[in-house]
């Protein structure tokens, strides 16, 4: 009975939040498209990375949802095998590390997480050792998620950046729901919060820091 409740609670919550997430992705895509710099002819790479990270996160919840709908049961732990969901979560971590490397100008970290995950997959392909693969994949995603989210908080506060701090709060919620995956109530609260928080965040309505006052000289120069 408990399993049935767990199944329906998660399925209905996820399906209910999906339109919100799709709307968020649409908003983020629009913002990225509008970020074209007419002088350089390039778009804002930070916006692209934020969009990609949320796309990967969305694909990570898509696979278990489809599985629940098709097989009418909860999927097993996704870290045991190489599946679309585990790959998506690893990509969320890797994109997060790339974003942090980009913001902090640490070129050597730019592709580090991508290479590491490629190494994990190659190691599994050559050794066919699923136990080690499970440990590596689980460790990478767990440590990676907690680390990049922590650094998002630090970076957001340090640079007084609403985008990064907002993203830190956004990804903090799936970490909590993932940590208490056996508790459907926490899952409902977390995804409910994401649905409420996501839209104003992507529309840029949430401001954590006061806007810097415009200097008089700058205002004059702008005419």
């Amino acid at each position: 009975m408990a399993a049935d409740f767990y199944y329906y609670a998660i399925l209905i919550t996820t399906l209910a939040t999906m339109p919100t997430i799709i709307f968020m992705l649409f908003q983020l895509g629009k913002k990225y498209r509008d970020s074209l710099n007419p002088e350089t002819g390039k778009r804002d790479p930070v916006r692209l990375l934020v969009l990609l990270q949320i796309v990967f996160w969305f694909s990570s919840i898509l696979y278990p949802t489809v599985y629940r709908l098709v097989f009418l049961e909860n999927p097993a732990s996704m870290f045991n095998t190489l599946n679309p969901s585990s790959i998506s979560i690893a990509f969320v971590v890797a994109t997060g590390v790339t974003l942090l490397a980009f913001v902090h100008h640490k070129e050597s970290w730019m592709y580090a997480a991508w290479f590491f995950y490629a190494g994990v997959i190659l190691y599994m392909v050559f050794t066919m050792d699923s136990t080690t693969f499970y440990m590596l994949q689980f460790g990478f995603t767990l440590v990676g998620q907690v680390s990049f989210d922590l650094f998002y908080f630090i970076t957001g506060i340090k640079y007084k950046d609403d985008k990064i701090l907002g993203l830190a709060i956004f990804f903090f919620v799936p970490i909590i729901s993932g940590a208490s995956s056996s508790n459907p109530f926490i899952y409902i609260i977390c995804y409910g919060f994401l649905a409420i928080y996501g839209i104003p965040y992507t529309m840029g309505k949430i401001k954590f820091f006061k806007q810097k006052p415009v200097q008089l000289v700058e205002a004059e120069a702008r005419g």
């Binding site: 070129e107 050597s108 970290w109 730019m110 592709y111 580090a112 290479f115 590491f116 190494g119 190659l122 190691y123 050559f126 050794t127 050792d129 080690t132």
Partner: protein
């Protein structure tokens, strides 16, 4: 069928210790000119060469000590292992080769790929810890070793740069060639005992001796020697000496300071005297560094270049001029 040669055990003449001592002396000697020149040319490059060589030389001495322990105290190869096969016998050379790989990435300015050597160390160590098979280790170490060797030798020969060429020979003979000989002796020659460790010592000694030829400039003077170019340099020097001679009273009046300049393209060196006061006057900028456009009249070599000189008259860096409109 090859005959089994009676193996010699132990190291009766103490060759291992002598080789280790000689290697340490030669290694220090090879580093001396680099340390002396660390404030000339491109500083960060010189510092990186020194750091990489220090690490590499330390690792080789560490390997030598392991060979001695194996020869004299009956330890077996990889007896200090943890897990299936993770021992200093494999780990130390692998870290050494990865340091070379990292240095090559630095030279090629591939900063975005800096993480690859560390990731390779992690996965190869994990594979050695879990499995006795060393195929992955052998393949990766061979590729990571051969690429720097080929690059150094090719770049050194092409640019007629003795230091880079010597780095190629050093990289090849410090690790790759001796191990190839070592395993050929075991599997091809059916040999055993102490004798199979001697190529590892002698080859590394040859490598560090050759490195000395490169760092002390012997290869530049005698192997990559170009008569035609020397003639041009001499002519330029004579022209410059005449010019300096003409300007001497003025320099003396202002208090001159001589600086050894090196062209960043062809590495031709030349000494020039600059007036103290003028340089110090120009160095009153934010960073305290004077940017000098040099060799416009092509007296040193064919390439005009920019030198960055600080208040102490030390060269902080060079920059080549690609185009002049």
């Amino acid at each position: 069928m090859l005959a089994q040669v009676e193996p010699i055990t132990g190291d009766p003449f103490g060759i291992g210790w002598i080789a280790t001592f000689a290697y340490a002396i030669l290694a220090i000697m090879a580093l001396l000119p680099l340390i002396k020149k660390r404030k000339q040319g491109v500083q960060s490059f010189n510092k990186s060469v020194i750091l990489w060589l220090l690490f590499s030389l330390f690792m080789t001495i560490d390997r030598f000590v392991e060979y001695i322990l194996i020869m004299n105290f009956g330890l077996e190869q990889g007896s200090t292992k943890i897990g299936a096969n993770l021992s200093t016998w494999y780990f130390v050379p692998f870290v050494s080769v990865m340091a070379e790989f990292l240095f090559i990435l630095y030279i090629l300015r591939k900063y975005k790929f800096y993480s690859i050597p560390f990731i390779l160390i992690f996965f190869i160590s994990l594979s050695l810890y879990q499995y006795a098979d060393i195929t992955a280790f052998a393949i990766i170490i061979t590729i990571s070793e051969l690429v720097p060797v080929i690059l150094y030798l090719w770049k050194g020969w092409k640019n007629k740069d003795g230091l880079i060429y010597s780095l190629g020979i050093f990289t090849a003979f410090d690790f790759f060639v001796p191990y190839a000989i070592h395993y050929s002796m075991i599997f091809g020659g059916n040999l055993a005992g102490t004798i199979i460790y001697y190529p590892l010592f002698f080859s590394a000694l040859f490598a560090v001796a050759y490195l000395n030829l490169g760092t002390w400039g012997w290869l530049d003077r005698h192997v990559f020697y170009d008569k035609e170019r020397e003639k041009q340099i001499k002519n330029a020097w004579i022209g410059r000496l005449i010019e300096i001679e003409k300007k001497k009273p003025e320099v003396k009046k202002n208090g001159g300071k001589s600086i050894v300049l090196e062209c960043p393209v062809c590495h031709v060196q030349s000494k020039r005297v600059f007036a103290h006061e003028v340089v110090l006057q120009r160095a009153k900028n934010e960073k305290g560094i004077v940017k000098m456009l040099l060799n416009e009249d092509k007296q040193i070599c064919e390439h005009p270049f920019v030198a960055y000189v600080d208040r102490e008259f030390a060269i902080r860096g060079y920059e080549a001029i690609d185009m002049k409109v």
